[in-house]
Amino acid sequence: METLWFMIVAVMVAAYVVLDGFDLGAGAIYLGAARTSEERRKILRAIGPVWDGNEVWLLAAGGTLYFAFPLLYASSFSGFYLPLMMVLWLLMLRGIGIELRGHMEHPVWMGFFDLIFCASSILLAIFFGAALGNVVRGVPLGVDGYFFEPLWTNFRVGANTGILDWYTILTGVIALVTLTAHGSLYIAVKTEHELNQRARTVALWAWPLQLVLTVIGLVATTYIRPAVLDNYKQHAIGYLIPVVVFGSLSLMIYAIRKGQDKLAFVGSALYIVGMLVGAAFALYPVVLPSSSNPAYNLTIYNTAAGRHGLTVGFTWWAIGMVLALGYFTLLFRMFRGKVQLEGEGY
């Protein structure tokens, strides 16, 4: 049961990153790729109906994490107190940037909201990447299952490291590049003409960077935490994951070159899922490693809620998920196709 919930939370987090990832990425390229006010409105229109729904996956994943692994939620959220609060502020600024720009018909303020939207998107991508880096690297968990990390100490991976060290900065940059490519491809799918071309160009430039960073990231991870390879050594099927990662990277570059934006976007989504599944596979059954003593590791077993709650929860979760998938299929179908600015909505 604990394993099942581990997989469910992992899938929901992956769904969040794939979905909100493209609108974060769209925000990251927003100022660079869209030059005219009309092009900017097109990008906003492309993500307008869906970004809020995408962000709900973060809430739903957080809620599910809280419900299935209360101690993990309590420990990690209080331990990552400062960066999480900053994530909240960035999410606020970003939501405002997206939604309120259209309410301000003044060029000065529009520019201001444009900047807020772009900057908060970039920072959020880095923060999320650094968060994943922290989870893989481990935190100074004490015997009571709690910890508190300062934002930074000396930027070295070690006993009293902070949220930011060279490794987590690296994972932050990987996340930014990945989501930039992901968002560019989404915008390429949703737009035409020059904007489409520019979005493709961004993805084309991001690709080699993504490839190199993926390799560096994998090497660095095995260097700072050799234990990540244990599960792979025991279950050879795990080696399929890097195959998927590099396969999807190849698919991306193939499809971008061929001008098949949708296929390239699928490749990018696969890559993100592959990377996240790879991390989850390496960690299992640990959910938050202790950097001080492996005996203090938080695992799915010592953090899970009671058996009865987990069993009952699966019933309603399954119902809720079927419903949610239904809504999202409907939503994305209604807004499929290229963005047109004239004569839509109000």
Binding site: R45, E55, T64, F77, M85, H308, G309, G320
Partner: protein
């Protein structure tokens, strides 16, 4: 009081109070928008569709503020109240996760369709998307109320070996009797906010002499809904909630009424200042025996006073609790009076020309917000000193790892952020109201 505890309490109290300014309007407006859409379809009248579109814009801005200030609420269970989360997460994790799965997905997906999809959907499908948004927002309310109701009146749990609480009965949690009254009372309160805001904007247009056709619709819908819900707020929902508190939290009732000494034929205090040190009410204005009657339906019934309970079980802030409760009840009574007079004038066909009444409706706008906030303060201050009633004290629930300094840093951050949000919100809503329901169609982006 430990200073970190104080910081974490103010942190949650401030962020949740600010947050709830927005959902109370979205939950209150959602059914009224459905009413406008229904009238538009039935009467085939474009004016009602314009009215619905206007309120959808206000709804959209409110919803956005509700979402961005709501995410911190879920986070704070872990960031600021981690010991509570560890202790009770096995139970209330259920309702909080269900809110995400059943309410947020529904609400956010269909709000996208509702706000952006009117031209792509058939009128009937667009009506359904409004209904789905209404359903989602009211479901969301239920899961939050069920969570709070569990903290007020814990049910369906068992103690695990490690001392934490775990779910033992799902249906007991979801169908907690406390949640029913609290939900009914809370949603009726939200509907009052929606009704008064709608009537107030309508009154503004009528007094201004612009958009008068729409203004009349707003006033009519707002006053009729406002009358229904302000009566429901008193009876049966407020009455039911009060008697539930009397039965399960008698010390809370005594503190709400500032009844220091238990007595038979206890009076109901209308006005007066609690003097906690001397355990009496200064300058009391009271109705003899009324509290006994309201609580037990008997004029001579004995109501327990604070003197029946050891002081470490008293809510810590008797005076603030007393004022919150009295402000809520006082405003609730005034709303009934305003709505009765307005409805009477509406029935006689005189409301739209009765400027004095329109002025009252216009100026009523902030008061349902105050009443709803005071109501929540009554519920939460009344639960003190408990975080989970009878099981965990508030002082044991906060994040011990997060120092007062770190908590203060983010509290100040939220204060600054929410000040900016509040100013932006007022500016944008004022702008939409001045543009009116039939201004040139302005694209959202």
């Amino acid at each position: 009081m430990d200073s970190a505890l104080l910081v974490h309490r103010i942190h949650f109290a401030f962020t949740v109070t600010f947050h709830y300014l927005f959902p109370q309007l979205t939950m209150g407006l959602a059914p009224l928008i459905v009413v406008l859409k229904t009238l538009g379809l039935r009467r085939n009248d474009e004016t009602y569709h314009q009215a619905a579109r206007f309120w959808a814009k206000i709804f959209g801005i409110n919803f956005l503020l509700g979402v961005v200030t709501g995410i911190p609420m879920e986070f704070q269970f872990g960031t600021n109240w981690s010991h509570f989360s560890r202790y009770a997460g096995g139970v209330i994790g259920q309702t909080l996760a269900m809110e995400g799965m059943f309410a947020f997905f529904l609400e956010s997906a269909f709000l996208g369709l509702f706000l952006y999809g009117e031209k792509r959907l058939s009128p009937r499908a667009h009506w359904w998307s409004a209904v789905a948004v209404f359903l989602g927002s009211w479901l969301s309310g239920y899961f939050i109320i069920a969570t709070d109701a569990w903290m007020q009146h814990p049910v369906g749990y068992a103690k695990a070996a490690d001392g934490s609480l775990q779910l033992s009965s799902f249906w007991a949690l979801v169908l907690n009797p406390w949640a029913w009254w609290q939900y009914a009372h809370n949603m009726s309160g939200a509907a009052i906010t929606g009704s008064i805001v709608m009537a107030s904007v309508g009154a503004f247009y009528l007094l201004w002499g612009k958009f008068e056709t729409h203004g009349r619709i707003f006033v009519r819908v707002g006053v009729i809904a406002g009358l229904i819900f302000s009566v429901l707020q008193l009876f049966p929902t407020g009455d039911g909630q009060g008697r539930m508190i009397a039965a399960n939290q008698p010390v809370t009732l005594a503190a709400m009424e500032a009844l220091f000494v238990g007595q038979s034929g206890a009076p109901l205090i209308i006005l007066g200042q609690p003097n906690v040190a001397e355990r009496k009410i200064d300058n009391p204005l009271e109705v003899p025996s009324a509290l006994s009657f309201l609580t037990y339906r008997e004029w001579a019934a004995n109501v327990k006073g604070l003197d029946s309970f050891p002081q470490d079980l008293w809510p810590e802030n008797v005076a603030l609790l007393y004022y919150s409760y009295h402000i809520m009840v006082g405003l609730g009574t005034i709303f009934i009076a305003i709505m009765l007079v307005s409805a009477f004038l509406l029935w006689r066909g005189k409301l739209f020309s009765a400027h004095w009444m329109l002025w009252i409706l216009l100026l009523a706008l902030p008061f349902p917000y105050i009443a709803n906030t005071a109501g929540w303060m009554t519920a939460e201050l009344g639960r003190q000193p408990w975080l989970v009633y009878g099981l965990m004290r508030t002082a044991d629930g906060y994040s011990k790892m997060v120092s007062a300094g770190n908590g203060m840093f983010t509290l100040l951050g939220f204060l600054g952020m929410y000040t900016v949000l509040g100013i932006l919100f007022l500016f944008l809503v004022r702008r939409e109201i001045e543009h009116g329901p039939v201004a040139e169609a302005v694209s959202q982006h």
